[in-house]
Amino acid sequence: MTTPPTDHGFGGTAIMMRGITKRFPGVVALDDVSLDVRRGELHAICGENGAGKSTLMKILSGVYRPDAGTLMIHGLSARFTGTRDAERAGVAIIHQELNLVEDLSVAANVFLGRERRGGLGFIDDATMEDETARILRMLECGVSPRARAGGLRVGDQQLVEIAKALSLDASILVMDEPTSALTEAESARLERTIQRLRERGTTILYISHKMDEVFRLADRMTVLRDGRHVRTVDRAATTPREITGWMVGREIAGHSFHEPRPRGDKLLEVERLTLPWPEHPRGYRLSDVSLDLRAGEIVGVAGLMGAGRTELLETIFGVSPPGWKGEIRIDGRPERFAHPSEACAAGIAMVTEDRKRLGLFPDLDVAGNVSLCSLAEAARGGLLSRAREEALVAGPIRDTGVKTPGPHAAITGLSGGNQQKCIIGRWLLTEPRILLLDDPTRGIDVGAKAELYALIDRLCRRGMGVLLTSSELPELLTLSDRILVLAEGRLTAEFSRAEATEHKILEAATG
């Protein structure tokens, strides 16, 4: 147990990190990071994906143990072996990913693992529901504590996550991109809650991509890049432009993509696509979505978490259950793919969103991961030949610029960017004409990102049509010829490259 904070001013140091280092197979996620967070301040952590923000927060909240370095909380040395230790020391974290048990009630989720008990030792639902209701009121959220967590809108689920952290009454609160799934109104409510918490003296570490948000809320900011601490500055002493510059470290070679690409025939048309969602109050995942894609064109799909970006791509690729309405035409022919293999045969490829969960085969080597969709070409008389497989994968490994010790290295030893290139290479072997990319650069470092952008541009120039989603607006703005915006399963706007701005897209995405 640490001593509770006695000084609510700016005097003490709430968190002191010295030389924190964390390695994962193939990457150094954090390299000698030192950081001080003052008691009661709102400290923003900025950095690109893969800069090490989330790893740092997971160390702070006891999810990971650092390989080297020391961590002091309120002046006491902290060696957390689990999140429970961190909670005891007064650190609570709101994770970026939702961690709800869908079949339990909101109140049961908020108190999961810390259930309140009555006199006889039985679970005391009434107390937990009352306390949950109180926290939800503070968040200005109208959800009932008895509602099933799985049935809530994504934004409300995020608020339940936040309620979970608030119920701990922690003196240090870590927020990892808490607004990524919230509408503008919900974000504003969250900001008011943050103000209230700050009045009570809570120290807040705030991770966000959104510069305007960071500059509105933070007292100080720390920029991380490639696992290293770049600098810590007062808000008043810097500008968003400067912060972005430190985050990226160099200009992303973006301008070259603005050269017009030759435009070809219509490859893909989606007309009035509606994908039902029976067990959900909204009733649909996608409603009345229409779009088209030409050869040599990159069409971006923007939207918040849960807006239906992935579902749109999955329906085109034949992954969604067959109950959808509307029409999908490939080369003018209506198609209803019942299985991804049919979509592959029709010349469509899809690079999935969550690389680890949906794309990678950790038990297969690099060659096995790349050749998977075109294995028949490496077989003769029904038997696979190692030499033929190596020859087959050599092309895509070279084209996509995968850095690997050899075709038979373990795929898990490669960096995220190289793994993603392997997966793109896997699909290039099927010689697709339509490439569906679902958030292809998530969790990839800046350098690899620029290489992937160049690769996508190159593929498009060869006459491929690319439908791209991304959780990062700058990425869509860099790559896309046109940008479609989804909000809650509906298409709310379409912008040409010239018209599109981050502000306009965000407005349409939260509308």
């Binding site: 193939g26 299985h339 979509a343 999935t352 085969f361 096995g368 050899g406 898990t412 030893g413």
Partner: protein, 408 residues
């Protein structure tokens, strides 16, 4: 870029863990040759080899099927009951086609034997198809689907034996005797099941390492969702895997008929499905799927049978009582040893907290009890105390390490 190989990989011809398994087999044989009071490995090497070869082949044939399903990310609990069904289908078919010869202990003829065997294999195919249908169309978890057939198929086999005998013989019977000389030949020539096992192992190895389907089986087991999204017809791959498991069990069933000269569905191969799964797991197959090899499974089977044989040689009376205990201990030890490296590196504790404290008497009692029953009460007491002292020392060492040597 670093090139960390997975812990089980590497090594010449076999993986490192498989070489270790081979060494363990040699060690177990050597120990038995010395400890066994009759020194039967020494004085009757051929007879001992024949025994072990037969039992290994009989288990190995359907352990290969179990391995394929496990590598594909599933589980088949029904193999023992499938064997019972296979023996019964084979015997019933022959009884139906040649009732007088079967009753009169006369040769039934090659055609009838072939028909019986084909009927068994067909039954295997149908059961595998049923499993796949339950798993992919009805969407039952594989554990539930094959648990249902584990219970159901044996019952079905018993009903089949009873109704066939009631219809074709003067008295109904719960088992069907098979005296055809062809089955006797198989029984008396141990090389036949061994050769079948060897060929099947080679085919399975070829399938898993050198064919597109084999790669898809690994991919399915490693990451099912990703496999589907990569355009693999995962349902068809499962169909193959479950049929392979059921048909290898059906094939093993034919050797059970030959070996025991009877189709006795009430108890034949009861519980043997767990031995097959154990053999695959000892051989390095991961129950979470995607990982496993044929050489590993073959060595796992041999190791299991060698250890069982060793214990029966050392404990002269009622050694079959201890078979389950041996399989259990071997599985736990094999999987624990495969993780020793990670445990040491990750600073993981084997006896953490209060759980560890309570595990010490549980393990000591188990060790002491078994030794007391097989040797003498005094030896049991000594073994129990020794185990308690060793585990207590381990616990104390772990506690010390965690308080002093934590990374600063």
């Amino acid at each position: 870029m670093a090139d960390p190989l997975p812990p089980s990989a590497g090594g010449f011809l076999l993986r490192r863990s498989e070489w270790a398994l081979l060494a363990a087999i040699v060690l177990a044989v050597a120990l038995t040759a010395v400890v066994d009071a009759n020194h039967s490995y020494w004085f009757q090497p051929l007879a001992s080899l024949r025994d072990i070869a037969r039992s290994t082949a009989m288990l190995g044939i359907f352990a290969l099927g179990a391995a394929v399903v496990i590598i594909a990310g599933g589980i088949d609990l029904s193999a023992g009951s499938m064997i019972a069904l296979s023996t019964t289908v084979c015997a019933s078919t022959m009884l139906a086609l040649a009732p007088t010869e079967m009753v009169g202990f006369k040769p039934v003829g090659g055609a009838v034997v072939v028909a019986g065997c084909l009927a068994s294999l067909l039954a295997g195919f149908l059961v595998g198809t049923l499993h796949t249908w339950l798993i992919t169309a009805v969407r039952l978890p594989p554990f539930i689907a094959t648990l249902a057939t584990l219970v159901g198929l044996r019952s079905l086999a018993r009903a089949l034996a009873t109704s066939t005998t009631a219809a074709l013989l003067p008295t109904k019977n719960s088992q069907i005797n098979v005296y055809d000389p062809m089955f006797k030949v198989v029984r008396d020539n141990v090389w036949i099941p061994v050769a079948v096992f060897g060929v099947l192992a080679f085919i399975t190895w070829l399938l898993l390492t050198r064919t597109v389907l084999g790669r898809h089986i690994h991919a399915l087991g490693g990451n099912e969702q990703a496999a589907r999204l990569a355009g693999i017809r995962t349902d068809n791959v499962k169909w193959f895997a479950y049929c392979y498991a059921a048909m290898t069990a059906a094939l093993a069933g034919l050797f059970y008929v030959a070996n025991e000269s009877v189709a006795a569905p009430a108890n034949q191969a009861r519980g043997h499905e767990l031995n097959a799964i154990a053999a695959a797991v000892v051989g390095g197959c991961s129950l979470s799927g995607g990982v496993g090899t044929v050489p590993g499974t073959v060595l796992g089977t041999i190791f299991l049978r060698v250890v069982i044989d060793a214990v029966s040689k050392v404990i002269k009376t009622e050694s079959e009582i201890y078979e389950g205990l041996i399989v259990g201990v071997v599985v736990v030890l094999a999987v624990t040893f495969s993780q020793v490296g990670q445990m040491a590196k990750g600073g993981r504790r084997l006896l953490p907290g209060a759980l560890g404290l309570c595990a010490i008497p549980a393990l000591a009692l188990l060790a002491g009890g078994v030794v007391a029953m097989t040797a003498s009460p005094r030896a049991g007491l000594a073994a129990g105390l020794a185990a308690a002292v060793c585990l207590g020392a381990l616990k104390a060492w772990e506690a010390r390490r965690d308080t002093t040597a934590r990374p600063a």
